[in-house]
């Protein structure tokens, strides 16, 4: 049973408090416990603890704890505990501790007090308990008031609109490390075959392949030699040459020679269909 349900049940039940319904009293139940046993279980479960129960008993008696015999309160309290046990409710240790405390107070009240000096030292054993009860009651009331304050999503509603039509901010460029890590992941996954797959070609060759393709974008023949940039020195020429070979092998270049011994020309190869 949820707490909410308990709360729901609590109110009608209290209205019936003084009525006897199905009134078969149980065992040693005190004479004023006129609650049907089924409802009693709900009723007792609704107490938040021994202080709550004790507070209820005292308020119900409408008596000053200082002026009533503690014995009476103790008797009633113990009766409730017995009922709880009879109903096989899970009896929290706190209830039993409270019962013990009440019994202790009762016993101390019975002891004759030595006259004179000791009177000031020894406080009335009921005082500490009363302070605790009073303190608890303040917060019990405060809790109810907090619950009464209009609360967001129960009584008060904010107005908002969905953001899903809004464009998300673009992801930042990857860090070099992220890129490397991703590639290492691919290589690792590809395991042995990766050695054949991703060959250790110099990146400069791959880059030059891209640049040559970009240069040849317009599909006009250019002088092959013009692709070999002499100003980059020998390594540059070699890189460009390898790039041209790679592209040719991939079927991406087309060769031509306008005249015998004329300059060797090269252009991007296009499918025949696209032409005309």
């Amino acid at each position: 049973m949820t707490e909410a349900e308990v709360d729901e049940l609590e109110r009608p039940l209290e209205a019936d408090w003084s009525c006897r319904v199905n009134g078969s009293p149980m065992g040693d139940m005190p004479a004023d416990l006129y609650i049907p046993p089924d409802a009693l279980e709900v009723f007792l479960e609704s107490f938040e603890g021994p202080l709550d129960l004790l507070l209820y008993l005292i308020r119900r008696q409408n008596l000053d704890i200082l002026s009533i015999p503690i014995a009476e309160i103790t008797r009633q309290y113990m009766a409730y505990i017995e009922v709880m046990q009879a109903l096989r409710l899970e009896l929290a240790g706190e209830y039993l501790v409270m019962a013990a405390l009440l019994a202790e107070i009762k016993s101390r009240m019975l002891l004759p007090r030595p006259a004179g000096s000791a009177e000031d030292d020894e406080e009335d054993p009921r005082l500490a308990l009363i302070r605790q009860l009073q303190e608890y009651e303040r917060f019990k009331t405060a809790a109810e008031r907090i619950d009464d304050i209009p609360r967001l999503e129960r009584d008060v509603f904010h107005a908002h609109a969905a953001r899903d039509a809004l464009a998300a901010p673009p992801a930042p460029a990857p860090a070099l490390d992220d890129l490397i890590e991703a590639l290492v992941g691919v290589l690792r996954r590809a395991s042995l075959s990766a050695h054949h797959q991703i060959s250790a070609e110099a990146l400069s060759v791959r880059e030059r392949m891209t640049r040559i393709l970009e240069t040849l974008e317009h599909r006009e023949f250019v002088d092959f030699v013009s692709l070999l940039v002499v100003s980059e020195g020998r390594p540059g020429v070699v890189v460009a040459f390898l790039a041209v070979l790679e592209l040719s092998k991939g079927g991406m270049l087309e060769w031509g020679q306008g005249e015998a011994f004329g300059p060797i020309q090269v252009r991007r190869r296009m499918a025949e269909v696209v032409e005309s």
């Binding site: 949820t2 938040e48 008596l63 929290a92 009651e137 917060f139 109810e144 609360r151 904010h158 908002h160």
Partner: protein
Amino acid sequence: MKDREPVTVEARTQELELILEAVLFAASEPVSVKDLLAACSTVESGGPEREELDAALERLAAHYLHRSIELVRSVGGYRFRVRSRFSAQVQAAQPERPPRLSRALLETLAIIAYRQPVTRAEIEDIRGVAVSTQIMRTLTEREWVHVVGHKEVPGRPGLYATTRTFLDDLGLGRLDELPPLDDLRELVDLPSETADAEPPLASRSQEGEEEPPPGS
């Protein structure tokens, strides 16, 4: 004042108003003046000063004067909310109502609110029962309470306090706007006196559960 065409001024004001509207409806929290200014800084003719922003906010509020929502200002900034007279309709549209908070949770919350910073053991002393871990977890997950430190006693227990979210959710600006804690009540009184002593806020019917009729 810069010399702008009247038409341009009108268009600009209208644009500022719409930007504010977009930002306020998109946000899930109150939006600070600083953030509103940042949003408006994207406007072509240059971002507004505080004064112009306030004027645009007023215009926006006026636009919703006869609608079901209102522009409100809270501690954190501005936000739109549904006018309270439509609360019942909003609740009616919700297939499941939010669950009631248990008394145990509310009492724990009240003790933290009024006694903060407070340890779990101190809460348990006041309530006279153990505080379940579930309750502390619920309060923490709702972001109503958090641990603000540790008490320098053996075990260094956490010290709990309420959060800004707690105040926001209750529509309070400051902690001392909570209803004041009652003075200690004498444990002797008549039910009628009891009722008189309580402030009107707590006049809900549930108060009834405290005092059964004396004549039982």
